[in-house]
């Protein structure tokens, strides 16, 4: 990967320095992950900046495979959701990509829906 990519991609709107992902932002998200997150070493966001890159790469790769199976050239949220459901370590993301409903009325015919609602 050429270094030009590192600089041209830094369109984060802030003075984050030429890391791949902004460390201050990572730190903010870490702090918000729980009420009792106290102190964070300087190295932890650095590890995350690389880990998030790996994470995005893996999720993208898996999602694209789903799109390819559907013979599509556009990556959709559905593809991401399918990849997440199919990958054990991405279980923590299942709720994020679901509708929040456990039942989607579109999945049922009117008769079936009546049955579901009555049960």
């Amino acid at each position: 990967m050429r270094q030009a990519g590192v600089y041209s991609g830094m369109v984060s709107g802030g003075r984050t320095g030429p890391h791949l992902l902004p460390l201050a932002r990572i730190k903010k998200i870490m702090k918000k992950s729980g009420d009792n997150v106290k102190m964070i070493s300087g190295e932890a966001p650095i590890v995350f900046s690389k880990a998030c890159e790996l994470f995005i790469e893996e999720l993208t790769r898996r999602s694209w495979m789903v799109a390819m199976q559907g013979k599509r050239r556009t990556l959709h949220k559905d593809d991401v959701a399918t990849a997440i459901v199919a990958t054990d370590i991405f279980d923590f993301l299942v709720d994020l990509v679901s509708s929040g409903n456990s039942i989607n009325p579109l999945d049922f015919s009117p008769v079936e829906m009546e049955t579901v609602l009555e049960s």
């Binding site: 990967m1 050429r2 270094q3 590192v6 991609g9 984060s12 709107g13 320095g17 890391h19 791949l20 992902l21 902004p22 932002r25 990572i26 903010k28 998200i29 870490m30 918000k32 992950s33 729980g34 009792n36 997150v37 106290k38 102190m39 964070i40 070493s41 300087g42 190295e43 932890a44 650095i46 590890v47 995350f48 690389k50 880990a51 998030c52 890159e53 790996l54 994470f55 995005i56 790469e57 993208t60 999602s63 694209w64 050239r73 556009t74 990556l75 959709h76 949220k77 559905d78 991401v80 959701a81 997440i84 054990d88 370590i89 923590f92 993301l93 994020l96 509708s99 009325p105 579109l106």
Partner: protein
């Protein structure tokens, strides 16, 4: 459209799905802010929260594009979804790392805690490349004469990250099925050639000048060999 008139992938909008609706509001506010530059206090608040919660979408897209073929398109909702997933990933790992700190009655979440949590939560494949990355970071910090483990000065951070991206990408070549990269620059350019003979193709291009022992420790399956 293959799914008919209704956009099938978007389930019936559910007002009780708080995260989604909040996201939509925040993104609208951010778009307003970006387009109009006329901001209300409410817009500012939403924008600030949006910025706090996610990685910048441009950065996310750039990383995605490294993986996707040139002709691939990415829908907006896919971009946003992955952007949200990254934040969820950080929270997920941090939560586990923080619990470990609390159990051990430590106040500071360290890089090692993060790596431990990742391994525990199933992201074993990331551990080796991250450990290499971290070791190289510490080497740079050491070369600058600072105490190890202290926050990195800006210049070293700049040098490390610009080199780390190219060299780390090369280090991951076998893992991530990239073709061998031999055109990385600067610090690792000369060093890489000297280490082609090293056992373990994994580290062939990424071995650090002056830290072959460290790299060998990693190659021998001691990911935490050098670091406490």
């Amino acid at each position: 459209m293959e799914r008919g008139g209704f956009n099938g992938y978007r389930k019936i909008p559910n007002a009780s799905s708080g995260l989604k609706l909040t996201n939509m509001k925040m993104r609208l506010a951010e778009m307003n802010h970006a387009n109009n530059h006329s901001t209300t206090a409410e817009d500012n608040e939403c924008t600030v929260r949006e910025q706090d919660r996610f990685m910048p979408i441009a950065n996310v897209i750039r990383i995605m594009r490294k993986i996707l073929p040139p002709h691939a398109k990415i829908s907006d909702d896919a971009k946003e979804t992955i952007q949200e997933c990254v934040s969820e990933y950080i929270s997920f790992i941090t939560g586990e790392a923080n619990e470990r700190c609390q159990r051990e009655q430590r106040k500071t979440i360290t890089a090692e805690d993060v790596l431990w949590a990742m391994s525990k939560l199933g992201f074993d494949d990331y551990i080796e490349p991250l450990t290499v990355y971290l070791h190289r970071y510490r080497d740079m910090e050491g070369d600058r004469g600072s105490i190890r483990g202290e926050p990195l000065g800006k210049r070293a951070a700049v040098e490390f990250s610009t080199l780390g991206v190219a060299a780390a990408a090369a280090a991951f070549a076998p893992v991530f099925q990239m073709a061998g990269h031999h055109h990385h620059h600067g610090f690792f350019g000369a060093a890489a050639d000297h280490h082609h003979h090293m056992g373990g193709g994994y580290l062939r291009d990424a071995a650090n000048a002056g830290s072959s022992q460290q790299a060998a420790a990693v190659a021998n399956g001691e990911p935490h060999g050098q670091y406490k």
